[in-house]
């Protein structure tokens, strides 16, 4: 099978900190791929580089055959994304949020209308399409974001901790949509999570990243065998250690952002 994502020797440095350290991995077309790691391990930085939000310091990425640095527009057409925090406009209705997305992605009007109806039905929000997003619950917002992310028929869907703070019912529903879509459309799913059980249940293959390096890849069975543990959670702890990671405080984060901006980072 063909690789839809190829990452070779990818590195991202922020001045004194190496957030992603020479990682390489491939993801096959149609695969559901789990990307696990403790806080601050480099998951989000990797996703940002894959999705054109951040330029790598070195290394190569190929996404659907395109390079995010030089062919940003082609890459942007190839993926949909559900971010860690909601990214909807609360002051608009669900329908208007979808419409906004469709126009930005250049979907012609007729197809746009049809897609919006189809996808809002798919995530069971069609009846609430004219409600303002600010009246939505957390779970409904997530479903809307998934529908939005699928609207331009992307080849790859990125999900950054998509089920954070959702109840098991919503989580199950959400994964049902995603697995259905994965089967019917052959869409590749790349997701991060802290719930090991979720990774075990849904990911066909898993990579574990720690301190910016990939420490293991394989199916959940392979990871358990490799570490001689009974559960993925134990395997994960064996691979990444038991110490609690001090996530950089937001002030430090801010300083880094400021620094990056002053030293002329990238778009």
């Amino acid at each position: 099978m063909q690789n839809i994502i190829e990452v070779k020797n990818l590195t991202k440095k922020f001045k004194d900190l190496t957030a992603v350290d020479n990682i390489s991995f491939d993801i096959k077309k149609g695969e559901i791929f789990g990307f696990l790691g403790p806080n601050g391990a480099g998951k989000s930085t990797t996703i940002k580089m894959l999705t054109t939000l951040l330029n790598p310091t070195s290394g190569e990425i190929s996404l659907n055959g395109h390079n995010p640095v030089y062919e940003a527009n082609e890459v942007r057409h190839s993926f949909g994304i559900v971010f860690q925090d909601p990214s909807l406009d609360d002051e608009l209705t669900a329908y208007e949020n979808m419409e906004f997305h469709g126009v930005l992605y250049g979907i012609p009007k007729k197809l746009r209308r049809q897609k919006i109806e189809e996808l809002l039905n798919f995530v069971e929000l069609w009846d609430r399409r004219d409600s303002f997003v600010k009246q939505y619950s957390g779970g409904m917002k997530r479903r809307l974001e998934i529908a939005r992310g699928l609207m331009h028929s992307p080849k790859i869907l990125f999900l950054d901790e998509p089920t954070l703070g959702l109840d098991p019912q919503t989580r199950n529903h959400m994964w049902k949509y995603l697995r259905d879509h994965n089967k019917s459309e052959g869409i590749t799913v790349f997701f991060t999570t802290h719930y090991m059980e979720e990774a075990e249940r849904n990911a066909q293959r898993i990579a574990i990243i720690d301190h910016g390096k990939i420490v293991a890849t394989g199916t959940s069975e392979e990871l358990k065998k490799q570490t001689n543990k009974n559960s993925l959670e134990d395997a994960f702890l064996e691979l990444t250690g038991n110490t609690i990671r001090e996530e950089e405080g937001s002030s430090l984060d801010k300083i880094r952002t400021m620094r990056r901006r002053w030293t002329g980072g990238r778009k």
Partner: protein, 248 residues
């Protein structure tokens, strides 16, 4: 083109829908107009300067425009905090188009505010000297609106959250408003104040409004429009540059 349109319409929808914001942003200019206009009217007239309401109204129009334009430009900070900015930044649209759409949207809202304040001031007793020149005054309103929306975008590109907003208001926006001659005539100012006023871009907006609405000019309309256009161009370029450097 369509992407610019959808970004523009989004700003308008947000503005029309938040009634409280609309009313709030009109209350302040109204308060200035009534308290200063009627409060100082007598003194102003005795000094032989004519009607203070007439003199003040163009300044208050400028005030409502600068405040709402900068606020609209700085809305990017909200979009960033609420995550919506990311949605636009991963879309296959150039940052230039995003910036243009947002700026036009913000400028449209600010111009609308200016026109509403213009109408309100007419109720308060303001009379433009020549109605045929009002459309030209509105064109200058558009120019001033674009200028300060771009300025707001530029400033917002440096800020990560709303904490900086108050500081920008106190150290940039308020001085620009108070030093612009919106409330007092340029004639007879102490040299230091006159020099500061000359470096304040809003001064030229206020002067252009006065020229077109009450036929009182200090710098001359040609200079006003030239300075406003050049500064608008500079703010737009800097705004797009810094906006293109935003990282999430």
């Amino acid at each position: 083109m369509k992407t610019i349109y959808i970004l523009w319409i989004r700003q308008l929808k947000r503005y029309v829908r938040s009634k409280s914001r609309m009313i709030g942003s009109l209350a302040q200019p109204l308060l200035f107009l009534v308290s200063l206009g009627y409060g100082f009217g007598h003194v102003f007239e005795q000094a032989g300067q004519g009607s203070y309401i007439n003199f003040l109204a163009p300044g208050i129009i400028a005030m409502s425009i600068i405040f709402s334009a900068i606020f609209m430009g700085m809305e990017i900070i909200w979009d960033r905090q609420f995550g919506f900015l990311k949605e636009t930044l991963v879309a296959p649209v150039s940052r230039m188009n995003i910036m243009i759409g947002r700026t036009l949207g913000g400028a449209t809202v600010a111009t609308m505010q200016g026109i509403i304040v213009f109408l309100i001031s007419m109720i308060a007793g303001f009379t433009p000297y020549n109605c045929a020149l009002v459309p030209f005054a509105i064109l200058v309103m558009v120019l001033v609106s674009v200028m300060f929306t771009a300025f707001g975008t530029m400033v917002a590109s440096f800020l990560d959250d709303m904490h900086g907003f108050q500081m920008i208001m106190n150290f940039l926006v308020m001085p620009m408003f108070f030093m612009s001659g919106a409330l007092f005539p340029f004639e007879g100012l102490p040299p230091a104040i006159a020099t500061i006023a000359k470096f304040d871009p809003l001064s030229y907006g206020v002067d252009a409004f006065r020229t077109l609405l009450i036929n009182q000019s200090h710098f001359g309309l040609g200079i006003d429009v030239l300075v406003l256009s050049v500064i608008t161009f500079i703010f737009l370029s800097l705004g797009s540059y810094f906006f293109s450097k935003i990282q999430i």
